[in-house]
Amino acid sequence: MAFYIISSALLCPQKTFEGTFPEEPISTEGLYLRCAEPDYKQIIPPVRLRRMSHILKMGLAASYLCINQSEVRPDSIIVGTGQGCTIDLEGFMRSCSEGPEELLSPIPFINSGHNTLAGQIAMNSQIKGYNMTYLQEAASLESALSDAMLLLEEGTSTCTLVGAIDEYSPLSFDVFKPHNCWREEPVNNLSLLKADKSGSIMGEGAGFFCISNQPDKQNIELVAADSKMNFKLGASKEWVNNLLAQHQLTTDDIDYLFVGRKGDQLTDDASYTEIENLFPSATIAAYKHLSGQYPTAQAVALWMAVKVLSGHDLPAYATYRAGAKTPKTILLYNNDLNSESVIIVKKG
């Protein structure tokens, strides 16, 4: 059975919410990039916007944009989030700590539930089928996508909305500090991939995709989404090869490769060079200098891959190594703290 990406929407630090690659990327100096946000009032009914947390606004807006473009209305919702609703989580933790415990507002508690977004989308769009949330760091999007494929295969769903979301917060930033994940000095995002220092910059964003069992005219097929626990530095080349073989693909079939290079001197080459060498003639695209590093950033790559397969040229600012010209089959590889993941998409 084949699965098709029939709609996609992305909010991230670049102005991608308009649906195309921006001509000029946003360039700023700092330790993190914030999401470029659309005018939410134009997308989300204003009455609902009140008291809505940052992550909910990003997620609901991206889900609306995605559903509105989809030819088929999704009947199920699966969200993957690396860290969940950290701002409200921290807010309620702090108020419990500071007390008095007897007088707390329930709003941040409600909004701290990691499946709040999936529930809110269901409520706002009245989608009453299967509703799932994966909370799984860098493997969250891949779990959500493979669950969606299983759901379509079973016939439980004909079109599933899959989302990937993470928000920047002081808490989510600090959590990664002990792992040397961040730069010590502010850096311009566009020079990040030089990887001349250790660490990366943080980002945030929400990417949503409608996955259907029927193609639309773009005919973009979601072939595979897989993840693997990995506790050491380095890439599992054999695992990637096996995955290709499982889908009757060879390394020659891959025209474009998206890598999760994040500008970290200590890990970038160890995590990606071997995989890049597997595909010597492929064009290599990178995106974390545009989006920043966050657990579900591979959604940025997936959105870009969908654009490229729909006929948009990969912008020069996202080209890491020039290679094959016509993209037909694209592999996305991400190597992150504790896990590796692969997504494969192709023009059907």
Partner: protein, 387 residues
Amino acid sequence: MNRVFVTGIGAISAIGNNVAEQLQALQQGTSNIAPAKLLKSTLKLPVAEIPFSNKELTSLAELPTEETFSRTFLLGLIAAKEALKTANLTDRSDLQFISSSTNAAIEITENIYKNPEEHLPLLRYFHANQIPLDIAKELGICGRQYTISTACSSSANGIMLATRLIRSGKAKRVLVGGNDSLSRFSINGFNALEIASVNGCRPFDKNRDGVSLGEAGAYLVLESEEAAKGKHVYGEIKGFANVNEAYHATSTSPDGKGAKQAINDALAVANLTVSDISYINAHGTGTKINDLSESIAISELFGSQTPISSTKGCTGHTLAACGALEAVFSLLAIQEQQVWGNGRLLEPLTETNMNIVRETHSATVNHVLSNSFGFGGNDTSLIFSKI
């Protein structure tokens, strides 16, 4: 389509350290809801606390007691080890792993503001997926891993995913479950929502006044029929369904629409009808709203004959762990041919007329329906069957 068998079960909760102890407690109708001894909260609400310090749990988990671990991790590991042991699973090369907790190790992270120095070594538990990864490492699991977070239906949804993976041939065997420990965070959340019980929870009672939180770790080993060949089988997972009510962020609909849909869908997957269900292990949290809407759904579908009970009067509401814990209880009902008493019930609610099990008794148990509902309108029903 592969059949899915349960070959291993493990659990720790306020009514026992292992499956055998919990079985005994269910048979005797033991409830353990009382003021907290370990949880530090000024709210002084009754809870179902596991009466062991983290150090004692560390030795129960067979880990070095000079090291410090998160309580949520320890509860999960103890239950997961028991499940693997009962399944006699030594070769773990093709084992996949699905787990869940509501907020990772919230019982650690919430203290960071008060005593940062003391909790510094545990900062790693801020990572949402740290507990599952630690459990996987400890048990030598290297297959695919999933972590679900859908509030109180989390581990029921984990069991549903595991079942679907095995049915479709995408997994041969899966270790699946959940873990949550008591935290100031959760108890304050339920209190702020005005659904925390002051008098101790009484699910389906006329005078119920809310939830008593509990803590637990519960894991199951699910295997395909072929992989389970020659093994002791606790039961088969025949039905499952998850739907969203799309009604309210934390409340269930008054007519139990979502619950009815989940139950009906699970019956359809199992190819069973309401009359095939011998016992219902309800979600039954003890809140006014949940218990009424769930009882309306159950009465409408099943009438007043099918035995039903909530075991949360015994164990408290163990949040992300409750789906897996009650899956274990459902399988024990099949094994013992008994239905479990609805702990702490005095006078049943009067709006509906259900056959609530007052005290544990013998019965013919072929198919058990287990409900787990979560915030965000998340409704899950599972059906466990005798083979």
